[in-house]
């Protein structure tokens, strides 16, 4: 009966102060001793005391507290749900009603959620970096191009002039030399022809000797013919390294006449190439056609008219000089470690 003493003091207070008090009051009202209840519930008196005193933290996990409260309420015929709700409301903090395991889990789940976002952010960053790198790469050639275009725009006249001035085309030089010779008067011919005849065409001299024509007139008659052919030969021979002797000046004059015609085209998309050391060259035009795909020997010169963009590759970057639309292109800082050069001209 000592049990009924203490509760009475408690029940003198507000009966709704806690689930423990409410249960205790109901038990006392039914005249049920604590020991009897403990026997019915198969629980120790200590646990029931903890329940009645609202010391729920003494019981290991909330699931047990709830279970005990529920069966206690059932025995004393109180509304189970009402008691449970009050317990949840007043004695459990936060939504997850689980003890140690639950709290740990809740924290872990949060950090895992963060991990998931981290993964997505990293993925996004990598994509952005890749995109940026690709953009930079695709930007690089067009940047040099715009530079070219800018310099071209800055001085369009030199570009037009530049086309004929640098290395005149060998074929043109030869042609010009021949025409010049053809135009020269016959009287001059022997004098001019004599030199080449003597020095460069000894076999012809011997042939003339063996013909037995010793008379001067006959020789002079023959001379113009030879003079015509000899410079012809000389011009073509010299064609490889034009620029010496008489051929140069005529060439310079002669080009003045044919150039105006191709000049507009040249100013457009002409590529000139001078090879100073043997190099492999691979030049492709916009349609992917191989315009040059060969080993170029030192001293070779090339001129191309091609539709941009032109893709160029040289095996020996130091052995090539490029002129694109009349502007020399500096290859020095494009030469890679293996001596190769790749460049796109647009």
């Amino acid at each position: 009966m000592s049990e009924t003493e203490t509760p009475r003091e408690d029940s003198g207070r507000a009966p709704t102060s806690g689930p423990g008090e409410r249960l205790q009051a109901a038990r006392i009202a039914r005249g049920l001793p604590l020991e009897e209840l403990a026997h019915q519930m198969h629980l120790s008196v200590g646990i029931l005391r903890s329940l009645e005193d609202n010391r729920f933290e003494d019981i290991t996990a909330p699931i047990f507290v709830k279970g005990y409260l529920r069966s206690y309420a059932r025995i004393v015929e109180l509304d189970e749900q009402d008691i449970l709700d009050q317990y949840v409301r007043e004695y459990m903090d936060g939504d997850p009603p689980i003890g140690s395991t639950g709290n740990a889990v809740a924290q872990r789940s949060r950090s895992r959620g963060r991990g998931r976002w981290k993964g997505l952010v990293i993925l996004l960053l990598v994509t952005l970096l890749l995109g940026g790198w690709w953009f930079m790469r695709s930007q690089q050639p067009s940047e040099t191009l715009s530079l070219d275009a800018a310099s071209e725009a800055a001085n369009p006249e030199p570009a037009a002039e530049a086309a004929p001035v640098p290395q005149p085309d060998d074929a043109l030089a030869g042609e010009a030399a021949r025409r010049l010779e053809a135009l020269t008067p016959l009287s001059e011919a022997p004098a001019t022809a004599a030199l080449p005849e003597a020095s460069t065409v000894p076999d012809r001299e011997s042939a003339a000797d063996t013909s037995g024509a010793m008379s001067a007139p006959s020789r002079t008659e023959q001379a113009p013919e030879q003079s015509l052919s000899a410079p012809d030969m000389a011009a073509t021979d010299d064609a490889e390294n034009a620029g010496s002797g008489a051929a140069v000046q005529p060439a310079a004059q002669a080009t003045a006449e044919p150039v105006p015609e191709p000049a507009p085209a040249d100013a457009g998309n002409s590529l000139q190439l001078r090879v100073t050391a043997d190099t492999w060259a691979d030049i492709r035009d916009a349609r992917g056609n191989k315009r040059v795909y060969d080993l170029l020997r030192a001293g070779r010169q090339l001129k191309l008219d091609a539709e941009p963009p032109l893709r160029l590759f040289f095996g020996n970057g130091h052995g090539v000089e490029l002129i694109w639309r009349g502007q020399p292109i500096d290859l020095e800082n494009r030469i890679r470690a293996d001596n190769t050069v790749r460049i796109t001209l647009e």
């Binding site: 699931i63 005990y68 009603p97 872990r108 895992r112 993925l123």
Partner: protein, 348 residues
């Protein structure tokens, strides 16, 4: 690499692949699916013709026992393990898709599946394979009572004995756990299905009337009790009279059902008693002080806690929302795997 990206887009799932119901818990979303483990198969053009899945889950359950010749409604799980591999895979596939319905890509989630602790190696592997076949990126297995205890909120990580009794559709599992491990576990192939079967048999024996599975289940849910109570519940049911061959209606009361359920109930009680016998004394003392926790759909059987309490003399507590304990516990374990490693996981 690609599957990892798809994995970012899929939610990790914890699946309680039960004999009666399949529950799926999705991380951060809670229980997202609770459907009967039933598949309806259509087979046109006679035997040997092509088979196709007609319905899965609740839709298929409605067909149970009501199908024409070309449709068969089957339950691919039996006694907590896979009975029909192909249809279990189809069913899982359907459920996994269903919880990822709003996604563009084919889901490739990490999946944690609960297996009965009595499952053999072959049965475990079958479950793993079927989950992989259903599109899971990675499959973890966990023993059901462990998941149930974690889902119920028992302090399994403490050096204290915790006993859980999980009564499912096909099996009942009883286990004692301490320090995140299972100390003792046993599985008996008695569950909700056996209760239904017992009711069907009782009605046939005593009334000469045949009732279907669905009716037996309704009787169980509405009036069955495991312990004689003060109030007597009655239910009118219909079945086919075996001698007359015509449907008849009759009335059953809860005391009759209690009698019908004696056998399976005592099977479970003796499993619990066995477990208590096998439990090391220190842990047994902890259990005696705090009690046994009931989870699983079987825990909803009226007064089952009272029966076990009277039989064992120990306090018995029914977990909150016992049906979803296993799936929720699995979900928690899934969350812990990343941080903690796989303490809880079952080996194959």
């Amino acid at each position: 690499m690609f599957s990892a990206i798809r994995g970012l887009l899929s939610n990790d799932l914890s699946i309680d692949l039960g004999t009666a119901n399949t529950l799926i818990y999705s991380r951060g979303q809670g229980i997202v699916l609770n459907e009967p483990s039933v598949v309806a198969i259509r087979q046109d053009r006679g035997p040997g013709g092509p088979k196709s899945v007609e319905a899965v889950g609740a839709d298929a359950k409605k067909m149970l026992g009501r199908t024409p010749e070309n449709i068969t409604a089957i339950r691919p799980m039996k006694d907590g393990v896979i009975a029909d591999f192909t249809y279990t895979e189809k069913m899982l596939q359907h459920f996994i898709r269903k919880v990822h319905e709003n996604q563009l890509f084919r889901p490739s989630p990490r999946v944690l599946i609960c297996v009965p602790c009595g499952a053999t190696q072959v049965e475990r592997r079958a479950i793993r394979e079927s989950a992989v076949g259903a599109g899971a990126r990675k499959v973890y297995l966990i023993e059901e009572p462990m998941a149930a205890a974690i889902g119920a909120g028992m302090p399994v990580d403490e050096p204290q004995g915790s006993m859980v009794l999980d009564i499912g559709g096909g099996t009942s599992e009883v286990a004692v756990m301490s320090l995140n491990g299972i100390v003792y576990s046993a599985s008996v192939r008695i569950g909700g299905d056996r209760f239904d079967e017992a009711i069907t048999n009782y009605v046939r024996r005593n009334y000469g009337i045949l009732i279907g599975e669905a009716t037996a289940e309704r009787i169980k849910v509405e009036i069955a009790a495991a312990y004689p109570g003060e109030d007597l519940l009655e239910l009118e049911v219909k079945g086919r009279n075996l001698s007359e061959g015509v449907p008849r209606s009759f009335t059953l009361n809860s005391n009759e059902i209690l009698e019908a359920l004696q056998d399976p109930l005592y099977g479970i009680v003796s499993a619990v008693k066995n477990a208590l016998e096998q439990t090391p004394p220190e842990l047994g003392a902890d259990i005696a002080e705090r009690g046994i926790v009931l989870t699983g759909g079987g825990a909803l059987l009226r007064d089952l806690d009272r029966l076990i309490m009277e039989e064992t003399g120990l306090p018995v507590i029914i977990a909150e929302d016992p049906l979803t304990c296993v799936a929720r516990g699995g979900g928690r374990v899934l969350e812990m795997i990343d941080e903690h490693g796989s303490d809880f996981l079952a080996v194959e």
